[in-house]
Symmetry: C2
Subunit: 193 residues, 2 copies
């Protein structure tokens, strides 16, 4: 069974994905999580604490569904591993929709809310470093700055395409096709460096 903290964080993601960051009030979160507001203040100190921990939680959860695989499946090539990791962010499942909606909402809110920025920047740089490592495995010969720049672009593109998909602009399959072609373009450029 999920711990009380996890239960509160899962509820926070649902509330943010449904009503936005500004819609997140401690009273509403308590009702959604089925706990007292006192317990939330005890575990998270205040609303800012809830937001920071929710951001970490969303980032960890995305890290989980983009890397965990069937242990019996054939091993992936470095390129397949990269493609899969990026495409798993563009899946039409309840969990990914909810996670990505909440992430996009936190990103947009960080423009107005300096409190969120630091946490968002470290979650983002962790993600960029993981994608950089995958790109380096695809092309170990490229100069170090090239996979890092490609990773910044590919992750920013995942965010851009996710928001288009979640806001009803493009179907998820189109977002996936566009993403795969971006990987192709970036790998071709790495090979020319």
């Amino acid at each position: 069974m999920a711990s009380r903290t996890t239960q509160i964080l899962e509820a926070a993601v649902r509330v943010i994905a449904r009503h936005g960051v500004r819609g997140l009030r401690v009273e509403e979160l308590a009702a959604e999580a089925g706990v007292s507001t006192g317990l939330i203040y005890y575990h998270f100190k205040d609303r800012a604490g809830v937001l920071r921990r929710t951001l970490q939680f969303i980032s960890d959860r995305a890290g989980h569904y983009t890397t965990v695989r069937d242990p019996d499946a054939a091993p992936l090539t470095p390129r397949e591993e990269l493609e899969q990791s990026l495409l798993l962010e563009l899946q039409d499942t309840g969990e990914v929709r909810e996670n990505s909606s909440a992430w996009g909402e936190l990103r947009a809110s960080a423009v107005f809310d300096p409190l969120l920025r630091e946490e968002l920047a470290s979650a983002t740089s962790l993600w960029v470093r993981e994608v950089t490592a995958m790109l380096t495995r695809v092309n170990p010969a490229a100069p170090a700055s090239a996979p890092a720049a490609a990773a910044e672009r590919l992750t920013a593109l995942v965010e851009g395409l996710s928001m288009r998909w979640l806001s009803g602009g493009i179907p998820v399959d189109r977002a996936r096709t566009l993403m795969l072609e971006a990987v192709e373009a970036e790998i071709a450029m790495l090979q020319r460096r």
Copy 2:
């Protein structure tokens, strides 16, 4: 002098860029614009009407600052025209910051608010068509679907990089460098098609 409608729309962009879409109330907008709430209801019918027209206004304004040039300057090559049009979205000026913050906020809100989706989708597809036309001028020989896909990616990347920049994740110069390299990668891919 700006018309009353323009004055209200400019105030709406400021309020959204400062407090988000959910922070936009007709009373607050009236105070910001220095007009009566009655005048806002007269011109825009309701809050949804304000949001729809504000989205069009932001889109038109971005279209303006990304295309208007000094008439005496040397003509640009198709590639320079494309690069300039994308880079002008990543400028550290008050107008671009405000416009892009409001655009990102409207994009994030459209995830929760179906009312915004249609208007956002048509503003986006207009932008994608413009960038597609520029890419076609860069490489007239590419099959028609290739510049369209590249334009979807480059515009989604502008959005992704803008949000990173505006949320304090990367400096604006880094966003511009990443954008120029993306143009390079996309044009190289078009030439291989």
